[in-house]
């Protein structure tokens, strides 16, 4: 799993690749929370286009990112969800809690 942050004006974009599971979800959580709390950007986009699998601990990391963003008045957006990622968000009834777009262009246009 790899996670890298890019900055576009008032937006931080995280590009994540690989599987997010119990082995590496703490790394995702730490990267998201550090950036959200330190940068205070208006919009955080997590690009999951290269993520094949997310387990419950990965979902928990995204929920923590969402809550931290809300606390600071930022938007927290997910893009590029795989079938598997969409399934776990539906199973956990979080699919309507997150702001989700197909791709970066759509997310940046909102």
């Amino acid at each position: 799993m790899q996670i890298q942050a890019r900055h576009l004006d008032t937006t931080t974009i995280f590009d994540v690749s690989g599987d997010i599971d119990f082995a590496n979800s703490p790394e995702v959580r730490q990267a998201l929370l550090r950036e959200i709390r330190e940068s205070h950007t208006a919009r955080v986009i997590v690009n999951l286009g290269q993520v094949r699998y997310i387990d419950s601990s990965g979902v928990a990391s995204l929920v923590e990112g969402l809550k931290a963003s809300r606390d600071l008045g930022s938007r927290f957006i997910l893009i590029g969800l795989s079938i598997s990622a969409r399934e776990v968000l539906q199973l956990s009834r979080l699919i309507k809690v997150f702001e989700i777009y197909d791709n970066e262009e759509q997310a940046l246009a909102t």
């Binding site: 969402l66 079938i83 399934e87 199973l91 956990s92």
Partner: protein, 143 residues
């Protein structure tokens, strides 16, 4: 049978093996993903709760074809048993949490129950034993 240590870095390998086995048995893609997810979550729970995040403890998985009769139908499927040697688990801690509140954590058991037709936890001797079964859609024996 698959024997491994409780290192989370092995989870992706197990996921690959389970997905391949489910495909070989003929499960459709959505069920392959859910079975794989259930086994992955069960393993993570063993590492986290049974072994307290110690990464050198033994876990054994057993796989076999399952079969049950329901009326005139025979259902076939896949049985997966996960065994660990951690301390006994309080069955009350194996309940799914409500999904009504927005909070991280506690989703793994929910994923397991959503994916599998049978989820049975037992303690046998010094071993915890989690039995998971997923059946195909039933077929009539009259055919």
């Amino acid at each position: 049978m698959m024997a491994l240590c409780s290192n989370p870095r092995l989870l992706s390998t197990v996921r690959g093996a389970v997905e391949s086995l489910a495909e070989m048995l003929g499960f459709p893609a959505a069920q392959r993903r859910s079975i794989t997810r259930a086994v992955d979550e069960a393993l993570s729970n063993i590492v986290r709760h049974s072994y307290g995040n110690r990464f050198d403890q033994p876990i054994t998985l057993y796989f076999r074809r399952a079969r049950r009769r329901r009326g005139n139908c025979v259902e076939r499927g896949l049985e997966i048993v996960l065994c660990d040697r951690g301390p006994a688990i309080d069955p009350n801690k194996l309940r799914r949490r409500s999904l009504d509140e927005l909070r991280p954590g506690g989703l793994g058991l929910h994923f397991i129950h959503e994916a599998m037709d049978t989820v049975e936890f037992t303690r046998k001797g010094a071993r915890n034993r989690l039995r998971l079964v997923k059946y195909f859609a039933p077929t009539s024996t009259a055919l």
